[in-house]
Amino acid sequence: MSQRQFLSFMLGNEEYGVDIKHVHEILTWKEITAIPNTPSYVLGVMNLRGSIIPIVDMRRRFCMSEKPADDHTVIMVLNLKGRDKTRIAGLMVDSVRDVYDIDDEQIASPPDFGSGIDTDFISGLATLRKEDQDTENLIILVELSQLLDADMLSRSSDVNANIAPEEELDPTPLAS
């Protein structure tokens, strides 16, 4: 039986967990530079001690409603092992909550939601009983390798798909 540690974070009322060995550090909200031609969930890039790292808005990633950044908003800096290389990226989440020890056998595979919910990002579900209060809470374990996959990025960075028609751009009248 093997046990792993998970760091949990909140998105709305839902609690998510990532394997703690991937977590580099937690940063408070900093200004982010937007980048063009990217999927909407890539907020932009940030300077992490001289390296440029992308920031992923987890609410947008999971197609949840948007919420402006507040005092609790943090960026979890993780290393993501993708198919081709390991990247360092920041995940913007509502807040960081707790660290749990979870046994492998406590983890259930995600149910099939049909085509409505993409379960590629979920590696499993774990239900934890809190000893002090007699409550149970569900932790959704996130599959990190799928978050910033190269294929997904290139899909929407096709430039020609994004070209706005000329007429919409500059409303100021041209000289005739």
């Binding site: 200004e31 530079t33 937007a34 980048i35 063009p36 031609n37 990217t38 909407s40 890539v42 932009g44 890039v45 940030m46 300077n47 001690r49 001289g50 390296s51 440029i52 790292i53 992308p54 990247r87 360092i88 990226a89 910033l148 190269a150 990025l153 290139s154 960075s157 430039v159 020609n160 994004n162 070209i163 706005a164 000329e166 751009l169 500059d170 409303p171 100021t172 009248p173 041209l174 000289a175």
Partner: protein, 716 residues
């Protein structure tokens, strides 16, 4: 793979690749036409093969070890019969280098290289045949290693275990006196593992030339039935001919001190000037170890004074980290400076002095940053070294005689630029030999020396590096180029082209003036690729040529790709950096000067040319629609501000809101943690710690062109 030595592999590979290129150079320096080769060269090659063998076997890479062993045998036989040297041997040795290179490539990918690959088998047959020929045994067909003379080593697989100590001894023909005598007597209860195997010590020693290896008997050898198979009863004594520095010896021997008693005796004063007492014996106990450290320190100091090369191999990522850190420190500094600037004047703080000190700190830190940048610089020799081999192979293949002259090999360039110029340079050199230099008959008929000269040189000119490829061949025939351009439909009319315009055709994809396509060049790919690579690095190619006299190609490159001068501009809410080299001008213009053209976009009439105005929103799509919204869209009284950019041979004007300022920027890679974004050449960190994107003007031009052609198709 061998596993236990994996950590030494990168170093081994680097050393081996260096060895291969040195070896190649030596092979090429021997001139088979001149008869017997220079013995120094043969000895040099032998040394490289020998240390390669030693290193490879030490790491358990038997295949490389075995191949180098066979090479060594060939060189050994060659030393005995230098008069039999011919171009066959040269080819054979060069093939060995090719096979070794591909083996190294295998290893770096984690594959154990096999000796039974077709290439390897062929080269081993070749080796065996050459050895047989030198040994006078006739062609031994398919006999892999039988020609090894006294070293009959088949089956080859067992080489490590069958390796004889005598094999380590260098043929000491010159009767050189040894410099060092080293003896090693294992402790009685020494436990030999695969890591500390006495054979390994012998192998390690053999990186130097040894004049003798002796087995030292112990005082009393027990009877056979009383022998403990776990115990080592023998000792060894090595005599080294090379004047190795004491610190090198110590470095090698340190792990062995705990295995037994090691004595080092200096037999001659080495020229490097070691002033140590000769003949100190050390016993591998703690006390002696302590004394060792002191003498080691002393030795290192000596080595640095004694002209022994003082250099350290450092992983490039460590340097990049250092560059990042210095950049961060500078940002921190400017933030500190700003805070101090805003401090109110009070009596108990001497603000004047504080400012002064912060300024001084800033100067020093910028100096530090510059110095750190220079650590990445490497001499251009690393790229030039690839040329002699190529020139030799090519000229032989094409039946031409070419003499290669190289100058300025020590000119330094950033590692990334250096990597970027390798392919273009190879293209240019191939081109010069294939198209430039004529066949010997033609040259003689034209009164030129039979052998053509290809001069490759490098020098620094201002903030740029110039690399020149110059041949004395037939030059570029302008009429042929023009004719060809017409027949390929690239040129319509226009008879009054100047030389420069004509030469531009050479860089168009698919353009070639060669009448016959060879596998060397002539397909018209090459020059355009070279030009694109060079321009991609912010460099230019200049061509000058005189018909019948030769062609001169100059590559002008930035010293480094990591730092550039840029202009920070604001477009809406975004800040971008544009490299100064691609900016032609910035102009304030009123609306009347911007003309709309039939749905294809807008142009400005500027300095006798019509330049398309490209709104970046057509290329860059942001989620926040207001990101690139210009000020004048809110307030039409703001005049148009356009930045006129030069992208290869296309000019573009992009509307901007503000020119923020010019500054030196450190270019950061976006692909490291994210992906490449078309039109964005990277990012940089501004003095307030924020990230700004760098516009890739050439890619913008290219994107704009596809944009226009898409539209044109749609309209049609």
């Amino acid at each position: 793979m061998s596993g236990e030595f994996d950590e030494y592999l990168p170093e081994f590979l680097e050393e081996t690749l260096q060895g291969i290129s040195d070896f190649e150079q030596m092979v090429i320096d021997t001139d088979p036409q001149a008869g017997a080769p220079d013995l120094d060269l043969v000895n040099g090659m032998f040394r490289i093969a020998h240390s390669l063998k030693g290193n490879a076997l030490m790491l358990g890479l038997e295949n490389i070890g075995n191949l180098s062993h066979e090479m060594e045998s060939l060189l050994h036989s060659l030393r005995d019969k230098p008069q039999l040297f011919d171009s066959g041997i040269v080819d054979c040795l060069l093939h060995c280098m090719d096979v070794l290179r591909s083996m190294c490539a295998d290893i770096s990918q984690g594959v154990d290289p096999a000796l039974d690959q077709p290439d390897a088998l062929m080269v081993r047959d070749e080796l065996a045949n050459q050895i047989a020929r030198l040994e006078g045994k006739g062609s031994g067909e398919g006999a892999h290693v039988e020609g090894g003379g006294k070293e009959n080593l088949s089956p080859i697989k067992n080489l490590t275990t069958e390796l004889l100590l005598s094999d380590l001894i260098n043929n000491n023909e010159a009767q050189e006196q040894p410099f060092w005598r080293i003896s090693f007597r294992p402790r009685e209860n020494a436990r030999f593992t695969s890591v500390a195997d006495p054979l390994k010590l012998a192998m390690q020693m053999s990186r130097w030339r040894l004049s003798s290896v002796q087995v030292l008997a112990v005082d009393q050898l027990p009877f056979l039935d009383q022998m403990n198979p776990q115990q080592c009863y023998l000792g060894w004594e090595f005599q080294i001919i090379d004047s190795v520095s004491r610190s090198d010896l110590d470095n090698l021997l340190i792990p062995w001190y705990e295995m037994g008693e090691i004595s080092i005796q200096e037999l001659q004063k080495s020229p490097a000037g070691h002033n140590e007492l000769s003949g100190d014996t050390r016993v591998g106990d703690i006390n002696a170890e302590k004394e060792d450290t002191t003498s080691l320190v002393g030795n290192k100091a000596l080595a640095s004074n004694g002209g022994v090369a003082d250099s350290v191999r450092v992983d490039i990522s460590k340097i990049d980290e250092l560059i990042n850190l210095t950049g961060e420190v500078l940002i921190q500094h400017s933030m500190l400076a700003r805070t101090v600037m805003n401090l109110p004047q009070t009596d108990d703080v001497d603000l004047e002095k504080l400012h002064e000190q912060i300024d001084a700190l800033g100067t020093q830190m910028r100096e530090m940053q510059e110095n750190v940048m220079f650590v990445r610089m490497l001499p251009v020799r690393h790229v030039f070294n690839r040329l002699p081999r190529m020139v030799r192979d090519l000229s032989r293949k094409l039946g031409k005689k070419v003499k290669l002259q190289m100058t300025g090999q020590e000119t330094e360039l950033d590692k990334s630029v250096l990597e970027g110029i390798l392919d273009p340079l190879i293209h240019l050199v191939r081109n010069a030999i294939d198209h430039g230099i004529e066949s010997p008959q033609k040259r003689v008929a034209q009164g030129k020396p039979e052998t053509g000269t290809l001069a490759v040189s490098a020098w620094q000119q201002g903030g740029r590096i110039v690399i020149e490829v110059c041949d004395d061949g037939k030059g570029i025939e302008q009429e042929v180029v023009v004719q060809r351009a017409r027949s390929q439909g690239l040129l319509v009319g226009g008879d009054d082209l100047d030389a420069e315009q004509i030469y531009q055709f050479l860089f168009i994809p698919g353009f070639s003036t060669a009448k016959n396509v060879t596998d060397v060049s002539g397909r018209g790919v090459g020059l355009d690729v070279a030009a694109r690579n060079i321009r991609g690095m912010g460099g230019v190619i200049d061509v000058t040529s005189t018909k019948g006299r030769g062609t001169q190609l100059q590559l002008k490159l930035p010293l480094t790709l990591a730092v550039t001068d840029g202009l920070l501009v604001r477009i809406g809410r975004q800040q971008f950096v544009v490299a100064l080299t691609s900016i032609l001008e910035s102009v304030h213009i009123n609306s009347q000067k911007i003309q709309s053209i039939a749905g294809m976009g807008r142009v400005i009439h500027f300095r006798e040319a019509y330049i398309p105005v490209v709104d970046l929103r057509r290329i860059f799509h942001y989620h926040d629609a207001k990101s690139l919204k210009l000020d004048r869209e809110e307030n039409p009284s703001v005049p148009h501000l356009l930045l006129v950019l030069e992208a290869e041979n296309l000019q573009l004007a992009i509307p901007v809101d503000e020119l923020v300022g010019q500054q030196q920027i450190v270019i950061k890679n976006m692909e490291l943690n994210y992906n490449a974004i078309p039109g964005i050449g990277g990012a940089t960190i501004l003095s307030d710690g924020k990230v700004a994107l760098i516009l890739d003007v050439i890619a913008l031009g290219w994107l704009f062109r596809t944009l226009v052609s898409h539209r044109a198709i749609k309209v049609a």
